[in-house]
């Protein structure tokens, strides 16, 4: 074994994040670590990467016990981590970022950029990577940033590469090139520790997989020895089929249309979008990344401007030019960028939930705090949000709880149309199920939902109708009964769904 973690324990105050965990990694393998949020994956890799120090236990690297007190000492040992968060200086070029701290220096302290550039270009050409060394890191796409970070690790000593949710923000094409890079690294004997929510990726590129649950080590398998459903079962103790609540499509189809869209366009990203929405229907929108779905759902809420088309809501024509008008017409919007657009991160749970509807509980602009607290508490209970106090900051909450707080805030304005953009982005499997139940519950209560998602299973199993965008236009609208993954993929690549 190349890297061994023995009896690692880590506590944060009274909470045990990792309890006596022992995992071994072989040289040159791709080893996945899976588990729900809060299972301890992040804590574990942060200990290996020197961001946290373990309370107990030892790390053995190549037969020798090592101490890893800081990320820098980890990288000196050849352990590098590519986090979910951006870890490049945004104001420096890719080249400067990659050689930061290792600049070759010539006369008069001048950095010999050309030497570094030649060396890097050699590697880039050899492996046919898509990255421009002269770009500023801030201008990189998520995929390019990952490649830059991996290159940065590669040119220093690299023995173990930890990838934490590397595909979270990548398009399908980017994922393919990332996987290619991973297999190149693997063939050069580099050990890769791979963390991902997307289990199909684990089966696609990993050799072995270890499961963590509630801070405990469960087991390690060869991926060929285990299937998707049993892996999920180990992680959460539930099967996948039970993840999605059932809906009664016939009943929904008998209901009236509440919202009717005609030829909506922003003249740039999407064109001629027309469909009618039933009361209590969940209308799912999918497609490859960047086909106009994002701009479309944002325009419906007035977060971006429409340039043409008609919105009819309950037989009234609506003009939605800004979010304020949308809210007034009882639209609610849950952004995919929850941390920036959904929540005021530094504010309390109480305030976050109260904001959009607080006028209702105010007399002459003074908020009735008792009433405010009572109403908010009720919704927190209804949605079973786990909190320690109403005055707790939302920043530290898990993704699932944060999303429920955003949902609670909108429920307080009694919405009739809810727009969900990536409803379960960054949310673990167990919490996903709860969000799905809530969506279905709202639909049954008569709220109509438009959901833009890049999660195929979610699109397939949660939607009453599925709409696929391609190059800014609706390529197909498929009913729940007829929809298959194959048909959706066909439409998403611009083909007719009946084409053979």
């Amino acid at each position: 074994m190349f890297l061994e973690l023995k009896n690692i324990t880590k506590k944060f105050l009274s909470i045990t994040a990792l309890n006596n965990v022992s995992i071994s990694f072989k040289k040159g393998e791709v080893h996945a670590i899976v588990g729900e949020n809060g299972a301890g994956k992040s804590t574990l890799i942060k200990i290996i990467a020197g961001i946290y120090n373990a309370d107990n236990g030892v790390i053995v690297l190549d037969g020798k016990e090592v101490k890893i007190p800081s990320p820098f000492s980890a990288s000196k040992l050849g352990i590098n981590v590519v986090c979910q968060e951006y870890n490049l200086a945004p104001n420096l070029t890719v080249l400067d970022n990659i050689i930061l701290g290792k600049e070759p220096v010539g006369k008069f302290g001048r950095i010999e950029k050309n030497i570094a550039r030649e060396r890097l270009e050699e590697i880039i050409n050899k492996y046919a990577l898509h990255i421009d060394l002269n770009k500023f890191a801030a201008d990189l796409s998520a995929a390019e940033a990952k490649i830059a970070e991996i290159l940065k690790a590669y040119i220093s000593k690299l023995e173990i590469l930890i990838l934490d949710e590397p595909t979270a923000a990548l398009t399908e094409d980017d994922v393919v090139s990332l996987f290619r890079l991973i297999s190149i690294l693997k063939s050069r004997g580099i050990t890769i520790i791979y963390i991902s929510h997307r289990l199909d990726e684990v089966f696609q590129i990993c050799d072995r997989v270890s499961v963590l649950k509630d801070g405990n080590y469960i087991d390690t398998f060869k991926v060929s020895d285990i299937d998707h459903d049993s892996l999920v079962k180990l992680m959460v103790g539930r099967e996948l089929k039970k993840l999605f609540p059932a809906s009664n499509v016939e009943k929904i189809n008998q209901k009236d249309f509440v919202l009717s869209l005609k030829n909506l366009t922003d003249s740039k990203n999407f064109y001629d979008v027309s469909f009618d929405l039933h009361e209590g229907e969940i209308f799912g929108i999918g497609g490859m990344a960047g086909q106009g779905q994002r701009e479309f759902i944002r325009s419906l809420f007035g977060a971006q401007l429409l340039t043409g088309g008609e919105i009819t809501f309950k037989n009234n024509k609506l003009a939605i030019n800004n979010p304020k008008q949308a809210v007034k017409n009882s639209f609610a919007f849950l952004s995919d960028d929850r941390r920036n657009e959904g929540l005021a991160l530094t504010q309390s749970i109480l305030r976050n939930i109260s904001y959009p509807s607080q006028d209702k509980r105010a007399n002459y602009g003074v908020i009735d705090k008792q009433k405010d607290k009572a109403v908010v508490s009720k919704y927190i209970q209804d949605l079973s949000i786990k909190i320690t106090s109403l005055y707790q900051n939302v920043q530290g909450l898990s993704g699932g709880n944060q999303q429920r707080i955003v949902i609670a805030k909108w429920l307080l304005v009694s919405p009739q149309i809810m727009l969900f953009h990536e409803p379960t982005l960054g949310i673990d499997v167990g919490a996903k199920q709860d969000i799905y139940k809530l969506l279905r519950l709202f639909a049954e209560q008569g709220i109509s939902i438009i959901m833009v998602t890049s999660d195929m299973l979610e699109l397939l199993h949660m939607s009453d109708r599925i709409c696929v965008f391609y190059e800014g236009r609706i390529q197909a609208i498929i009913s729940n009964k007829e929809a298959t993954e194959e048909k959706i993929m066909k439409a998403a690549s611009g083909k007719s769904i009946n084409e053979k």
């Binding site: 990320p71 820098f72 990288s75 000196k76 986090c83 968060e85 951006y86 870890n87 490049l88 200086a89 945004p90 104001n91 420096l92 400067d96 970022n97 930061l100 701290g101 290792k102 600049e103 220096v105 008069f108 302290g109 001048r110 950095i111 500023f136 801030a138 201008d139 941390r339 920036n340 991160l345």
Partner: protein, 322 residues
């Protein structure tokens, strides 16, 4: 993690737009040359260059501090203090002049180090730290000298303010400092690390660089350049005063920001600051030329006009980034 702040900020990052400010400066120069009588007289143009020197030198230091993600509000008080030290201790002998120059440069560097070390050990926002240390330096200055005065030997003044046509010692000094620090920022490791510090301190720490040391050094540079400016002002005005530096904190920040340096750090260049300082100095000169210097009331109007012009020029080419 700390980087969450960046996801929003990243969107606003743009390439350094030094070209824009030079273009703007050139345009303003043309307009002023046509509209303002006597502006293009060689003597006046040489004057504009000399007038920008003290601001230009302080602004170099300010820019370096700002690129590292900091800010130095104490520069004004530091300059004042140095003018007082120089005018109090300088005698007529060459030895005394050189000794006092060395003393002032050391003292300035020490003030900078003081700022940087306070920042390291108390982790308070640089705005607060340098505001407070500014009060401290200002107080020290007052305690030594309540009025304008002191003695500066004439040989010191003559050397420091000598000029031959377009060439002048002060502008030459500025140009030399500009070239040295521009090289430092653009070509050396230290320069890269200052930018990285302003862009993302965590990234810098994670590659094994001591970011505190880099930050302290930027403040030392700023302090050192304040001392140079203080010496020059003392020489030009042949006296020292606790007021002499008062304008420079805000003007140096203005010159840097007009020149394209980001208040958030990590973006900007000395060349931009050069143009920014030039712009401020040019407006000053023009307003003086068209008669804003004769009485107290119009001097106040001059500040108002400079303020407006600065805001407009910042808006003109920075609107995308803000």
């Amino acid at each position: 993690m700390k980087n969450n702040k960046f996801t929003a900020k990243i969107k606003n990052y743009k390439k350094n737009s030094t070209g824009t400010i030079w273009l703007l400066l050139f345009a303003v120069f043309i307009i002023v040359s046509i509209t303002v009588q006597d502006f293009t007289r060689p003597a006046n143009l040489a004057n504009v260059l000399i007038q920008m020197v003290p601001l230009g030198i302080v602004a170099i230091g300010q820019t370096i501090v700002m690129l590292g993600g900091g800010i130095d509000l104490s520069v004004g008080a530091q300059i004042s203090f140095i003018t007082i030290i120089a005018s109090t201790f300088m005698g007529d002998s060459i030895l005394s002049i050189i000794g006092v120059i060395v003393l002032c440069l050391l003292l300035g560097s020490l003030f900078g180090a003081f700022n940087g070390i306070i920042l390291k050990y108390f982790s308070i926002h640089p705005l607060i730290v340098t505001l407070c240390s500014g009060f401290l330096f200002q107080g020290l200055a007052y305690s030594m000298h309540q009025t304008t005065g002191g003695y500066i030997p004439s040989i010191f003044r003559q050397i420091f303010t000598a000029s031959y046509g377009f060439f002048s010692v002060p502008f030459g000094l500025f140009l030399m400092l500009f070239l040295i620090f521009n090289y430092l920022l653009k070509e050396t490791k230290f320069g890269r690390y200052i930018y990285a510090l302003g862009g993302s301190e965590e990234v810098l720490i994670n590659v094994g660089i001591n970011s505190d040391t880099i930050r302290i050094k930027t403040y030392i540079i700023s302090g050192f350049l304040c001392a140079v400016t203080g010496l020059y002002i003392a020489a030009r005005l042949r006296s020292g005063s606790a007021h002499y530096g008062s304008d420079y904190a805000l003007l140096s920040i203005a010159a840097a920001v007009v020149g394209g340096t980001s208040m958030a750090g990590g973006l900007g260049s000395l060349s931009g600051t050069f143009a920014g300082a030039m712009m401020v100095s040019m407006f000053n000169n023009v307003l003086n030329n068209i008669g804003f210097k004769y009485n107290l009331q119009s001097a106040f109007y001059k500040d108002v006009i400079i303020g407006i012009i600065l805001v407009v020029s910042m808006f003109f080419y920075r609107k995308r980034e803000l």
